[in-house]
């Protein structure tokens, strides 16, 4: 009684009060969103269709789609980097996800030394970002790792038998896998979290019905982790987009900060971002049909 009386006195209904508190809680984010998201997005879009005449006072001159045209038709380097990036992404994203899921399924089993393995497999969370990756790539550690892995999988005798062409092909494949593995830290974490959430009853029911482990994986595990898979696919796209070792992004930033062509750089950035958004939305819509929603 007391509560409703108080509300009446203030002249606010419960819903309005709740909404007010909601806005109070997200108010830092709204300020941040306007300041750190909307404003730069607006400025960056503005830059991409203008020419700067005076940067300190933000004096601009309308340029139309000139920078976009230049990026698409007049810049061979940009085009090449763009294709390269798209290609390596198309190869790496499925690989990263297959590996991350496999490792997570293995780690979810019960065996001796599981804790130690988990500790190890989360190391890429440390390794996969920033400077360590850069340092190691500089020292060609990825190639060395691949070389050792190849020797384990394919001893000398076998490579002689297969001939240089196939051996090379396998080496290249292993190289891609090594880098993909190093980038799969967060994805393994997400999949493992998903696997932990699958109800034990389902597995028990499957065992009672004498399903093999292989069948259990395809019929229970995989459908149950589809939400994680969706999240992971999208995360992998974002991750490879904002990756520092991405040569396209390096080129864009170089054009902006070294060559002082901020307008051109913005236009190239937007072209790239539009592609990313299209890819993410497409991925989301396609995967949405397969995602298995469990009602709580």
């Amino acid at each position: 009684m007391n509560r409703s009386g108080k509300v009446k006195r203030k002249g606010l209904s419960l819903e309005k009060r709740e909404a007010l508190y909601g806005f109070l809680f997200i108010s830092p984010w709204i300020i941040g969103g306007l300041l750190l998201l909307m404003f730069p997005i607006f400025r960056s879009l503005q830059l991409s269709v203008h020419n700067i005449t005076n940067i300190a006072d933000w004096e601009l001159e309308w340029a139309g789609l000139e920078h976009f045209k230049k990026a698409i038709f007049g810049d061979a380097i940009y085009f090449e980097y763009y294709l390269d990036t798209v290609k390596s992404m198309m190869i790496q994203i499925p690989l990263i996800n297959v590996f991350a899921l496999t490792v997570a399924v293995f780690l979810n089993r019960r065996f001796a030394g599981r804790t130690m393995f988990r500790l190890l497999f989360f190391l890429p969370v440390l390794l996969g970002t920033g400077f360590i990756m850069q340092q190691l790539m500089g020292q060609k550690v990825d190639q060395e790792t691949m070389e050792v892995a190849r020797k384990v999988l394919l001893p000398q005798e076998v490579t002689i038998y297969l001939g240089p062409k196939i051996t090379n092909w396998i080496s290249e494949f292993l190289n891609v896998i090594t880098t993909a593995l190093w980038k799969s830290g967060v994805q393994i974490v997400i999949y493992l979290a998903g696997l932990q959430g699958v109800s034990r009853q389902l597995y028990e029911a499957a065992r009672v019905d004498s399903a093999t482990e292989w069948e259990t994986f395809w019929l229970i595990t995989l459908p149950m982790v589809t939400p994680m898979m969706q999240l992971n696919l999208i995360y992998s796209v974002v991750d490879s987009f904002s990756d520092e070792s991405n040569s396209l992004l390096a080129y864009i930033v170089r054009q902006g900060f070294v060559a002082n062509k901020f307008e051109y750089s913005s236009a190239m950035g937007w072209l790239f971002f539009v592609f990313a958004i299209i890819l993410i939305v497409a991925l989301f819509l396609i995967t949405q049909r397969f995602v298995n929603r469990v009602k709580e």
């Binding site: 830092p28 984010w29 997005i41 933000w58 988990r118 989360f122 400077f131 998903g194 904002s242």
Partner: protein, 319 residues
């Protein structure tokens, strides 16, 4: 009757016992999985071992290809040279400062905002929350130029504010992800808990700080670990905003260690040496620098790993 019942049950039971006897304690599949895991673990651990071993090698050992894993001349000199070149005593403090404050900002603001999205119904909630996700999807690089100009107009360049300030508003390095994680957590804890508190006269702010935030330990640990690691490792944004040598962060300066060493190098033979030889010459030092730079997040990870892994298993990631 009894005999008939026995006859009915006996056969399948016997069969079952037989099957259990046949089943080995460890199946072939388990062994295969174990071997595969060891192979994969090798791929993960190799770079770390490589760094560690090379950082203790002398120049003679590095150019000698027969010395692979055990350095013949065990030396610490790489570490002392790298320590001085990187000015670790200064850059370490700088990095620590940024990482601590940015992580604090992330945990405080993202839990606060996440609670708002999880607990209260307000107009445009779904739209705003999808913008949270979107904010995490936009690569920093797309917006870096207007941000740079804005910060330069605010006279915030050459300070750590552009790195720390956004984290207190739920942005910064992958801030959207942390808001998402906290929201997923708060949406799952029973609402009756805060209702009880608010009947006792607790306002929503107090409910958040006294009840909701302290209960979010597992999620907070996941955010803390990820935020520490990402902030410590990031050299892209610091590289844009900070150019003065005294204020540089450790990973940032590490990127230029090789060039730095070339400049500092006193060996006259190295002045004219080929690029490949120079890389070899400085390899041990660069590796020692890298080991020193990853040590702090690594130690943090070792301390928090148990709770981190538990936290991962319990985060609201699983819907």
């Amino acid at each position: 009757m009894n005999a008939k019942f026995k006859a009915l049950t006996q056969y399948p039971l016997k069969d079952k016992i037989k099957r259990q006897h046949l089943r080995l304690p460890v199946s072939l599949f388990d062994i295969v999985v174990f071997c595969l895991l060891i192979l994969l673990a090798f791929v993960f651990i190799y770079p770390f071992l490589f760094m560690l071993v090379n950082s203790f090698k002398s120049y003679n050992d590095i150019i000698n290809i027969t010395v692979k894993w055990l350095p013949r001349e065990f030396t610490f000199s790489n570490y002392t040279i790298a320590y001085n070149a990187l000015q670790v005593q200064k850059t370490f403090i700088n990095s620590l400062f940024v990482t601590v404050f940015a992580t604090m900002g992330h945990v405080l603001s993202c839990s606060f905002i996440g609670y708002g999205f999880a607990r209260f119904r307000f107009p445009l909630r779904r739209v705003l929350f999808s913008i949270v996700i979107l904010s995490f999807l936009i690569p920093v690089q797309t917006l870096i130029i207007p941000m740079y100009i804005t910060y330069s107009n605010l006279n915030m360049l050459e300070t750590y504010l552009p790195l720390i300030f956004p984290t207190f508003l739920g942005f910064g390095l992958k801030g959207g992800l942390f808001v998402f994680l906290f929201r997923q957590y708060f949406i799952r804890i029973p609402k009756s808990l805060d209702e009880a508190a608010s009947i006792d006269g607790c306002g929503p702010l107090r409910v958040f700080f006294r009840i909701a935030l302290p209960s979010s330990g597992a999620t907070a640990i996941v955010c803390i670990v990820l935020s520490i690691v990402w902030h410590w490792n990031d050299f892209y944004e610091p590289g844009i905003y900070i150019s003065s040598f005294d204020d540089m962060l450790l990973p940032q300066i590490l990127g230029s260690l090789y060039h730095l060493l070339n400049k500092l190098s006193v060996d006259p033979n190295m002045e004219v040496a080929a690029e490949g030889a120079k890389i070899m010459y400085h390899k041990g030092i660069v590796m020692a620098g890298t080991v020193m730079a990853i040590l702090p997040p690594f130690i943090a990870y070792l301390f928090l790993q148990k709770r981190f892994i538990e936290g991962v298993e319990r985060t609201g990631l699983v819907e």
